[in-house]
Each structure stands twice: as C-alpha cells, then as structure tokens.
C-alpha cells in the first residue's frame, strides 16, 4: 500500500513551498525566519501538571494525539525547555516554585496556561491558598480554556503558539499582555543572574558554598577562582585609563 503524501496532518509554509517546487533542495531565507522556524518546530515542553489537566496533558504526549509529530517533546528539566505548560491549580505555596522554574528556563521561552484553574483560579479563585491565575506571576502567551481541555485543544494551543512565533519573526507585534498590577512580579527574578546590578558578592559566595557542599566541587577550588576573577576585574578597572 502506497503512502498517500497528499494527506498531512500538520503542514508548514516552508514544507508546502518545498513540496510545490520539484527538485528544490536549496532555498534562501533570512536568519530570523530560519531561527523562528527552528523554534516553532522544536517546542520542548516543561510540564507543570498539578491536577486533572495534567492527566489530559499526558494524553497530549501519548500516541493518539502525539505532540511529538510537530517537534514538541516533554522534558524533565527547565534548562532544556522552550515552553512551560502549566496544567492545573497553582497554590500560594507552589507559586514561588513555579516562578523559580520559569526563571531557570533559557530565553526565548513561552508559557501556556491550560485549564480554567491556571487561567483564573476557576471556582477555587477565592480560596485562601489558591493563586487567581498564573498570569499574576509569569507572562502567559496562550490560554487554553476548558475544565479540563481535551488533548486536541492543547494541540490547538501549541499550533496557536507556533503562529505567534512565526508572526513575531515576520515583525508583527505579539507582546504578551499582562495584568498591569502583575508586571512587577513577572519581570522580577527571585535570584538575580550574573551581570545583574542587583546581584551581590554575598550571593556569589552562597552559591559557591552550596555547590561546594556537593562534595567533589572542593577539588575545583571555586571560591578561590571566583576571588581571583573579582581581583582581576578590580585591577582592570583601576588600570583602565580615564577618558
């Protein structure tokens, strides 16, 4: 039985163009478009599945719906991931953890709020321990409504996110809309990263100490290395001629 190539469940403008032109194996494009094509076709997911939406999310990754056919695979580490899918109720105790994981994801990154609890808190909204929507602390790109939404709806959310990435590569403005009162929390990382003026040498020292407490880091003598780097930087700035 021959494979019917006209039937494709997922298509992309680049694929479509290359399929239409016979013998085409080289094409030119801009770097932005190439990079955005790479981003949208390899959306690695970091799941934060805290309740029943998480069960539907598992069906999204399983064989019937199969998010993998558009390059979206589920990863267990925020440092490998491009898109955080928050599926479920986020409590006040969980929110700082989610924010910390979000801060650990490398740019560019996107967030999808799945289900009415992640979007607005739903009927748990007024309970003392529930956060009324994850957009109070992280910026959200796509909202997938439902209680819970079915896996096809989540797939639709991923496709909308791809459209968004493509639109931003084409120069259209797709900035995330945030609640005005929440922008401060969304932009403020809990730990200032390297190069941030808010970062102190005390924090450097604490992080090195915690790394050293793992054991074999002692051999690297990181603390001394850090001191010498700081000393070099200080010398450099002193010897730098004033303009």
């Amino acid at each position: 039985m021959a494979v019917d190539e006209s039937y494709r469940t997922y298509s992309h403008p680049v694929y479509d163009f290359m399929m239409k032109v016979p013998g085409l194996d080289v094409m030119t494009t801009t770097v932005d478009k190439l990079l955005s094509f790479g981003s949208e076709a390899s959306l690695w997911i970091f799941p934060v599945a805290t309740s029943c939406c998480g069960i539907e999310f598992m069906a999204l990754a399983a064989s019937r719906v199969d998010a993998d056919r558009m390059g979206a695979i589920v990863r267990g580490s925020p440092r490998h991931s491009d898109v955080m899918i928050v599926a479920g109720t986020i409590t006040v105790k969980m929110a700082p953890r989610v924010k910390k994981l979000w801060d650990q994801m490398p740019e560019p990154k996107w967030a999808i709020a799945v289900g009415s609890c992640a979007i607005s808190g739903d009927f748990y909204r007024n309970i003392y321990s529930v956060v009324p929507g994850i957009d109070t602390f992280i910026p959200v790109d796509v909202y997938v409504p439902g209680c819970p939404p079915n896996p096809e709806a989540m797939m639709h959310g991923l496709i909308r996110l791809q459209e968004k990435i493509r639109a931003s590569a084409n120069g259209r403005d797709v900035n995330r809309e945030a609640r005005p009162e929440a922008v401060h929390h969304q932009r403020l990382p809990r730990l200032p990263i390297l190069g941030d003026p808010a970062r102190t040498s005390e924090l450097d020292r604490q992080q090195v100490a915690s790394a050293a407490s793992l054991g074999w880091w002692d051999e690297l003598n990181l603390e001394q290395a850090l001191d010498s780097v700081a000393k070099d930087l200080a010398d450099e700035s002193e010897s730098e001629p004033k303009v």
Partner: protein, 163 residues
C-alpha cells in the same frame, strides 16, 4: 439522626461518663471531657481497652458562645477518635473544648500517628499542642500569617505577592 457519640461502645461510654465525668455535648457530638483528664483518658483507652490506632483529631472554631454551659465565649472544639481492630473495628470518640488561646496536651508520645494530624490542626485552625516534638506548619508555607480555618479569617486576606 445517629449521633457521633453513639458510635462509642457501651463500655467506652460508661468509662467516659462514670470515670471521666464527661458531659453531654450541646451540639450533638461526642461527649465532652475536661482538658486536664484528656491525656489520662487516651492512655487508659490505649492500654486497657485496646484502642491502639489513632483515628483522627479534628478541630473547629466556634466564634459565638455555645448554647449552654459546656463552653463560655469563643472556643475551639477538638474531637478525637481512636480505633480498635482487636475487638472488631470500633471507634472511641470524645471531645475537648479549649479557649482560642488555650493549649491541649499532645498525644504524640502515645500515638506516633498523631504527629502530622496535630500539625495540620495547628496549621489550619491554630490549636496549640503542648509538648509536640515538631510544632511547625504542615500544609501552608512557613511564613504564613494567621490560621485560615478560623471563622474570623477574612477571605480577602492578602498573601503577598501572589494574591
């Protein structure tokens, strides 16, 4: 309606009323035992009546005065339940009333299973358990202010910065 106190077997009910001077519960719950005799009662049930499994401890805050002389003013009612499997599955329940700023002796030395349950009641209702080995919050974050299952905990209390 079958009352919770009626769950007690006859011998436990007799023990509660005759030896521990338990009073009838005005709200229809289990018999009310004085705080000072609470630990003694639990020890007796465990050692002499084979109630060796810790069932539950549940606290409830009553802001208004109770209807009769069982409690005066604002109080917290703490209900206890022990289980026995040696003599068929049976339940022994009783209740202790304390003022909101009062304390109650812990049952952790008698039943290891009471540890987390008492921590939960401390966390949500604010019951103080005297002599608890690890009196930290169990469910909410450690810097939480107040006890949310108290009736005077406002629903719009600010939890910075998430709410």
């Amino acid at each position: 309606m079958k009352l919770l106190g009626a769950e007690n077997s006859e011998e436990v009910q007799k023990l509660l009323i005759e030896q521990f001077e338990a009073m009838e519960n005005s709200l229809g719950g289990p018999p009310v035992v004085a705080v000072v005799r609470h630990l003694e009662l639990a020890k007796k049930l465990r050692d002499e009546y084979q109630y060796r499994i810790f069932g539950f401890v549940v606290a409830a805050h009553y802001p208004a005065p109770a209807k009769d002389a069982n409690g005066v003013g604002e109080l917290i009612r703490v209900s206890y339940g022990l289980r026995s499997v040696g003599k068929g599955t049976k339940l022994a329940t009783w209740q202790v009333c304390i003022p909101v700023d009062g304390a109650i002796p812990t049952l952790v030395p008698l039943f290891a299973g009471a540890d987390w349950q008492e921590r939960e009641q401390f966390d949500l209702v604010g019951v103080r358990f005297d002599g608890h080995p690890d009196p930290r919050r169990l469910m909410l974050s450690e810097d939480w202010q107040g006890h949310p299952l108290r009736k005077d905990y406002a629903i719009d209390t600010k939890v910075h910065p998430w709410r």
